[in-house]
């Protein structure tokens, strides 16, 4: 409410944040844009890379492939996730809390680990493939390429839809459903005519989220895609590939990628604005007991889906305890902890790196998110409006593009950060901050401003009010958000794979490296350690967050 144009501490904070965004986000992106429009041989302005990309069907098809797989994955996750959320929130399901934890766990490992595990299960030499072949003589369908990517992405991303739609259903007042039944609209009809429209804003938000993640994901197609080329992979190959790298061309593809995601983002924003309305449930939905037959089907559906999705992770944990050959390439009879032993001997650093790099990023993210959300919610002005917009930009930039832009921006003195842990921290901050800022903003908006006014009228200065009243009140929400961020940070791959050096290998990168070397045993062990980290974080989250609401 206070709009006096007095200069105080917060102006300094605004300007500092603006400068940080300028230096670490806008400047590298600008550098990348410049690179994309200059010929790397003649050094002159040219659009030939863009021309090349759009005229050569080899490159252009990567774009088409990405779209195809992302659209299919989005459709499939919605198809799977929306009914799951509906059943979970409207009916009595046995073991609700357990089910929810499992659903969340499904989404919490890096997609490429899922892809890798599916290969172990269903690949050419996979356990299930071999078993089915020897037992029934049936050849399993090919898992590589489009089908595999779709399988991995949808089993990985349906929890997102589940969480979004569950959140929406929690705000649906029971009386809306009763009124609908009262007027003769029940069952399936009510699902389509009342429930779906009520959840539409969340469904669209979830859809966008899934689409963006599928589009930007590059670990999965790299691992299981084989001949099926998507453009994040192409960017990676053009940038760090073994043969014929072309940085300018990679920059050009990146620019195209950003433009496309920006357009999709804007379309979604426009569409969701048309659907937007606010709901607040006075009486939350009362869960009903379904009929016997329906109950069995519902349990089968819920637990079946979770079982399928969690199977790869469980299998990896199982494999991590198997004996391997000396080189680590083959599994042998018997079980032991030898994989773990080897991992701790050779990769102890990676655990330390994970804590150091991801922890550092997490602290920066939390501090920045609190400050930015305060500026955006409580002190609206032009500069903070710009900060608000800037903070949303990373939504539309794929991780690999962030990484390439950072390398282009900071490979030379005075800011030669390439290869250091710093650049990975920066990349993680840029990637993750929008989500943490959004949730902090939501938390702050829920805190009535009168509480801060009360503090001011009791003689506390602005700064004191902020750290004595505002921050403590936000803290619970921010901490639970931070734990979720932590989980996504330790499973981050797409930017770190471009930015890492031998000194900054994290657990997640460790799995990737082990897999690419073919040392399956160690890969399984590292990924199990990673899963353990995730589960512990989740348990911590459940303890900290009172309402047990989980948002990604």
């Amino acid at each position: 409410m206070k709009t006096k144009k007095k200069f105080d501490m917060w102006w300094g904070v605004s300007i500092a944040i603006l400068l940080l965004y300028g230096l670490f986000m806008l400047y590298p992106l600008f550098k990348m844009l410049i690179q994309s429009v200059f010929d790397n041989e003649t050094g002159e302005f040219s659009l030939r890379y863009f021309q090349q990309f759009f005229s050569d069907s080899y490159y252009f098809s990567t774009l088409f492939n990405s779209f195809k797989v992302s659209i299919c994955a989005t459709g499939l996750t919605l198809l799977l996730g929306v009914p799951l959320a509906y059943i979970y929130n409207l009916y009595e399901i046995k073991g609700r809390n357990f089910l929810q934890v499992m659903i969340i766990l499904c989404s919490m490992s890096a997609p490429f680990i899922g892809a890798y595990s599916w290969i172990l299960l269903l690949g050419r030499a996979g356990v299930i493939t071999k078993f089915v072949k020897s037992a029934f003589g049936i050849t399993m369908p090919n898992i590589y390429g489009f089908n595999g990517i779709l399988l991995v992405l949808s089993t990985k991303l349906f929890p997102l839809v589940f969480l979004y739609v569950s959140g929406a259903l929690k705000n649906v007042d029971n009386s809306l459903l009763e009124a609908s039944s009262n007027m003769g609209c029940q069952g399936i009809k009510r699902f389509f005519k009342v429930v779906i429209p009520l959840c539409m804003p969340s469904i669209m938000a979830a859809g966008l989220m899934v689409f963006m993640r599928s589009l930007a994901d590059f670990g999965t197609p790299l691992m299981i895609g084989e001949g099926y080329r998507t453009f994040p992979v192409e960017i990676y190959k053009q940038y760090v590939g073994e043969t014929g790298t072309n940085h300018n061309f990679a920059a050009a593809i990146s620019v195209v990628a950003i433009l496309i995601t920006a357009i999709i983002f804007l379309i979604q924003k426009y569409a969701s604005n048309r659907f937007s309305f606010t709901m607040n449930a006075l009486h939350p939905i009362e869960r009903k007991k379904p009929g016997k037959a329906a109950s069995v089907l519902m349990h089968l559906y819920c637990y079946g889906m979770v079982a399928v999705s969690i199977m790869p992770q469980v299998y990896l944990i199982y494999c991590s305890f198997r004996n391997t050959s000396k080189t680590g390439n083959m599994f042998k009879e018997g079980y032991s902890l030898m994989n773990y032993q080897q991992v701790f001997e050779t990769m102890g650093d990676s655990i330390y790196n994970t804590i150091r790099i991801c922890g550092g990023a997490l602290i920066v993210i939390v501090v920045m998110a609190i400050l930015i959300s305060y500026l955006v919610v409580r002190r609206r002005n032009l500069i903070n409006g710009i900060i608000d917009t800037l903070s949303m930009v990373p939504y539309i930039i794929p991780g690999s593009v962030v990484a390439i832009a950072l390398v282009m921006g900071f490979s030379r003195a005075p800011l030669a950060l390439t290869g250091t842990a710093w650049i990975m921290v920066i990349a993680m901050c840029i990637r993750r901050m929008p989500y943490t800022i959004r949730s902090s903003v939501a938390i702050l908006q829920q805190i009535p401003i009168t509480v801060e006014e009360a503090s001011a009228s009791l003689g506390a200065s602005k700064f004191k009010t902020f750290y004595k009243v505002t921050v403590p009140m936000m803290f619970n929400g921010v901490i639970s958000g931070a734990i979720m961020s932590w989980v996504t940070l330790i499973t981050e791959l797409s930017s770190s794979i471009i930015l890492y050096s031998s000194k900054t290998i994290t657990l997640n990168l460790g799995v990737y490296i082990m897999v690419s070397r073919g040392t399956d045993g160690k890969a399984c062990a590292v990924s199990t350690i990673l899963t353990l980290f995730t589960v512990l974080s989740l348990v911590l989250f459940m303890k900290v967050s009172k309402n047990k609401e989980i948002a990604l």
Binding site: P448, A454, G459
Partner: protein, 362 residues
């Protein structure tokens, strides 16, 4: 520490939207002053201007001789009670009350002593180590009040502090507030839209509408001698009738529709014979008389028995519907369709100009 609040020509705008055009008011030392008006009349806006949470676009605000327009809210020495209490949910009751004292860097023992004093004054000592979420609405209200008073403010501001409580608690709390204010003698500005609440606690009330103060007076004067038609209708219930002034040899009075002449001794000089006026007759200012008596003819439509009083809705012979309140009698209630005559207590009723802007009664 007692302070007089002087506001002259206050102006509040949001963009081009003027909320308070030009407002002047003096609030006396130690007074319990209430801003009363329908929602959206600018009463909370004015209160927040005094508190320093709203900017002031024009005019001067004084605490005694000190101009406070640009003073930081933290430095105005104000105790404020908010509609939603605004208690810090992460602090215990005791820490909430001590919060303002700690900001003044008082010595520890003094903080302790004053906190205890106000905790016991508000009768919440036993909850002092609880978190606010475990308190009932009334208890939270007490914490908010104790917190506001603990800093021994010059001015106590309250923004609809009782609106979140249930009816019974509201009555109880308004007694508490009134009592505490009386004993501390602190200048208090209170905002409410509930006129009964305002009447119960206030020394003086300012009735506001559309950013303009309609009248400032004691509760009794506001009720009995409202300055204009808005105040007459907003404070209490009333029947508004379109009538005419007459004048004969004995003096002036009001001629009712069916020719009934009501002589009045307190009409102003400017009231001229034949002038069209609005007459405000409160339900209890009618007297029901038999059919043979003098008065305005009417027919009973229906009645509501409420114990102490009986309400009648009747239709005058001129077609207007009015409400009458009578102390309940032991004999039968008048039946629907009964023909009656109404007399009017001429010393109590109010007469306004036809546009309702001024009273014609001395």
């Amino acid at each position: 520490m007692n302070v007089e609040i002087k506001i002259s020509h206050a102006l509040k705008k949001y963009g081009d939207n003027v909320i308070i055009p030009d407002l002047t008011v003096d609030i006396r030392k130690g007074e319990f002053f209430t801003l009363l008006g329908p929602s959206g009349c600018g009463k909370t806006t004015l209160l927040r201007m005094i508190a320093g949470f709203n900017t002031i676009e024009g005019g001067d605000f004084y605490f005694n001789d000190k101009r406070i327009n640009d003073l930081d809210p933290a430095k105005r020495n104000i105790g404020m009670v908010f509609q939603n209490y605004a208690i810090f949910p992460h602090l215990t009751v005791k820490k909430n009350v001590a919060f303002g004292l700690q900001n003044r860097k008082l010595p520890k023992d003094q903080i302790e002593e004053r906190t205890e004093k106000f905790l016991s004054m508000m009768k919440i000592q036993e909850y002092k180590d609880r978190l606010p979420e475990r308190l009932s609405g009334g208890q939270q209200q007490r914490v908010a009040l104790a917190r506001a008073l603990a800093i021994e403010p010059d001015v106590l501001l309250m923004d609809e502090p009782l609106s979140n409580l249930d009816a019974k608690l509201r009555v109880e709390m308004r007694e508490v507030i009134k009592e505490i204010q009386n004993s501390l003698g602190i200048t208090t500005v209170y905002v409410t839209h509930d006129q009964e609440e305002a009447m119960a606690v206030s020394d003086r009330i300012a009735v506001m509408n559309q950013g303009v103060i309609q009248q400032i007076d004691t509760p009794k004067a506001l009720y009995q001698r409202p300055g204009n038609l808005f105040v007459a209708t907003f404070i209490g219930r009333t029947n508004v009738l379109d009538e005419e002034i007459y004048e004969d040899t004995r003096g002036k009075g009001v001629r009712f529709g069916n020719g009934f002449l009501l002589p009045m001794e307190n009409l102003m000089e400017e009231a001229r014979a034949g002038q069209k006026v609005k007459v405000s007759v409160r339900p209890e200012e009618f007297v029901i008389a038999g059919q043979e008596a003098e008065g305005v003819g009417a027919t009973v439509e229906y009645s509501t028995f409420l114990g102490l009083n009986t309400h009648y809705i009747v239709t005058l012979d001129t077609g207007e519907r009015v409400e009458i309140i009578q102390e309940s009698q032991i004999d039968d209630i008048l039946e629907k369709g009964s023909k009656i005559r109404l007399q009017v207590k001429n010393e109590k009723i109010n007469v306004f100009t036809e546009d309702g802007s001024r009273s014609l009664v001395r």
